[in-house]
């Protein structure tokens, strides 16, 4: 958070009195932090010349809760609950991104079933995130109906999450060493029922938007920046793929057995708001393909790694075996120890490259957890995307960046 001098709280004129002939008066406009189209608490200070934005400086930190600091005071397994609270639209991707480097440090081998359930649920949460993006983005552009449609489908997804983990949002379902719980009886029917009817729903959205002249006029050619600039500014994810680079971490550095799945990387060349819309729509279809493959070939077996010092034992074993009881006591009271070292495993979250840099000093609490969140990198491009453009286009551009302020501020 920072203070930038404003003449008053509301919009003000920079200089008083009549301007000299041939010169223009610039206006400073404070947008946010409670503006509905900023999708959270983002404040942008816009300097305007008429309708044109001369400069835009984002001001963040309103949601800063010191998650990285808190992580140093909790045990490794407890930190999973903090990761839910960063990017609240793709909680499972955060859980996964945190567990992978810790498991790398522990050199755990995760059973196939757990990996496949992880893939399935992170893909469903990708659909969830893109649905929320689509609804709110269209709401910003004045198409209110889409919001109701996408939130209808999102409700089904939240029911799936609740069914698996007992929680709609803060799932904490992916844990270090595997999963929190065995998938509940009947999960296959629930997920396949949802996935089967989703392609028709996406067709419905595309029918409303893809060829819609008003939507195309608002989005085509808007919010363009050369892909080299985007990469230089630290942008990742769908924004890069909409500008012509087929870079997806699920393909280039596969994790959690993504190499076993058959899917394409949607790419568009235009690099504008419309191209980002097309990429995300296609990504939802690819995610459906991945979930279908998970449903068809879900392996049987355990859902937790065979590591008694890390993973809590079964209740049954705890009551009959002395070692299991001792491990249970040790894990619950002081947590498991992680060998000293450092690890970074990037994952492709719905917004781009998400990675946790975990530093262990050999104790049961992390020495440092650096969260490389995609929204933070993507938001850096905001100033350059806005400058020289019309203020009415800024709303479309902002929506197409798809950031989550919880992810930015942490």
């Amino acid at each position: 958070m920072s203070e930038i001098e404003l003449n008053t709280n509301a919009a003000t004129l920079e200089s008083e009195g009549e301007p000299e002939a041939g010169t223009t008066r610039r206006m400073t406009l404070n947008m946010g932090p409670q503006h509905p189209s900023t999708h959270g608490v983002l404040r942008i200070i816009l300097e305007l010349d008429g309708e044109t934005i001369v400069s835009a400086s984002p001001d963040i930190g309103f949601l800063h809760t010191g998650i990285e600091k808190q992580a140093e005071a909790l045990t490794y397994q407890q930190v999973v609950t903090l990761t839910d609270r960063m990017d609240y639209l793709s909680n499972l991707a955060n859980n996964l991104a945190y567990c992978l480097p810790v498991e790398k440090l522990l050199q755990l081998e995760i059973p196939a079933r757990a990996q496949w359930v992880r893939v399935m649920l992170t893909e469903i949460s990708r659909i969830n995130s893109h649905l929320v993006w689509l609804g709110t983005h269209c709401l910003d552009l004045g198409a209110m109906t889409m919001f109701f449609y996408t939130f209808r489908e999102r409700e089904d997804i939240l029911r799936i999450f609740e069914f698996f983990s007992g929680q709609r949002l803060m799932t904490s379902y992916i844990r270090v060493g595997g999963l929190a719980l065995e998938p509940p009886r009947g999960w296959h029917k629930l997920v396949s029922g949802f996935i089967r009817q989703l392609p028709a729903k996406i067709d419905q959205y595309e029918g409303l938007l893809t060829e819609n002249p008003i939507f195309m006029q608002r989005t085509k050619g808007v919010g363009f920046l050369p892909v080299e600039r985007l990469l230089d500014l630290g942008v990742t994810g769908p924004m890069i793929r909409a500008a012509g680079i087929p870079w997806d971490i699920r393909k280039s550095e596969p994790y959690s057995s993504y190499e076993k799945f058959d899917f394409n990387i949607p790419v568009q060349q235009a690099g504008d708001v419309y191209a980002r819309f097309r990429v995300r729509m296609d990504e939802m279809r690819e995610s459906i393909k991945i979930v279908e493959q998970c449903l068809a070939g879900m392996p049987e077996g355990p859902i937790r790694a065979d590591a008694p010092k890390v993973v809590l034992p079964d209740r049954e074993k705890m009551k009959t075996q002395m070692e299991a009881l001792i491990y249970h006591f040790k894990i619950v009271t002081e947590g498991f120890r992680v060998p000293a070292g450092e690890a970074y495993v990037p994952v492709e979250s719905p917004r781009g490259e998400l990675g946790f840099y975990v530093v262990s000093d050999g104790t049961s609490k992390p020495a440092r957890v650096f969260m490389r969140t995609p929204s933070y990198g993507n938001l850096q491009a905001l100033s350059e995307l806005f400058e020289g453009k019309l203020i009415s286009d800024s709303i479309a551009t902002l929506g197409s960046m798809d950031f989550v302020l919880g992810d930015v501020d942490r």
């Binding site: 958070m1 070292g341 450092e342 690890a343 970074y344 990675g355 840099y357 530093v359 933070y376 990198g377």
Partner: protein
């Protein structure tokens, strides 16, 4: 001097051949290559890596606090090359008294906010940074909260005078 395992790594070997005085060491743990670099040469090294080795992306910059050990701070750079599908970590060690290092904003514009965050939360100064202000904490905040000697609980702050 590079350890034996890193001599197999093309980038590390080429960088060593380019200027061996800039590379102070390195490691290759868990499949991740890491180089210790001379803090005073950080901009040259980054420019060389970006221009000659196609590390077009800087994934992030952060600091690891090794309090009470000295040198206390390790500035960490996460580099990535999409073309070569390769990742590289650079580390520069800084003493605790007045930690300062040259900013790499001139090499990757995206270093801007990551360096501001490191400055805000750790108090490491990035020289020649275009806009080195606090980014997360309020402007009148005292101290740098992610330092290991900053308490997790019990810190009092009044938001009235903002």
């Amino acid at each position: 001097m590079l350890p034996e395992v890193l001599k197999q790594n093309d980038t590390a070997a080429a960088l060593e051949a380019w200027d061996s005085s800039a590379i102070l060491g390195g490691s290759f743990d868990l499949g991740e290559a890491m180089l210790w670099v001379d803090p005073s040469r950080i901009v040259d090294i980054c420019r060389q890596l970006k221009e000659e080795h196609r590390f077009t992306r800087l994934s992030g910059v952060t600091v690891i606090d090794r309090h009470p050990m000295e040198p206390r701070f390790e500035v960490l750079y996460l580099l990535h090359s999409i073309e070569r599908n390769e990742r590289l970590k650079l580390k520069a060690a800084l003493g605790g008294a007045s930690p300062e290092i040259e900013s790499v904003c001139g090499v990757w514009r995206g270093a801007d906010w990551f360096e501001r965050e490191a400055f805000d939360l750790f108090g490491v100064r990035f020289l020649n940074h275009p806009d080195l202000r606090r980014i997360m904490m309020p402007d009148n905040w005292e101290g740098h909260p992610l330092r290991r000697d900053f308490p997790t609980h019990g810190h009092k702050y009044s938001y009235q005078n903002e």
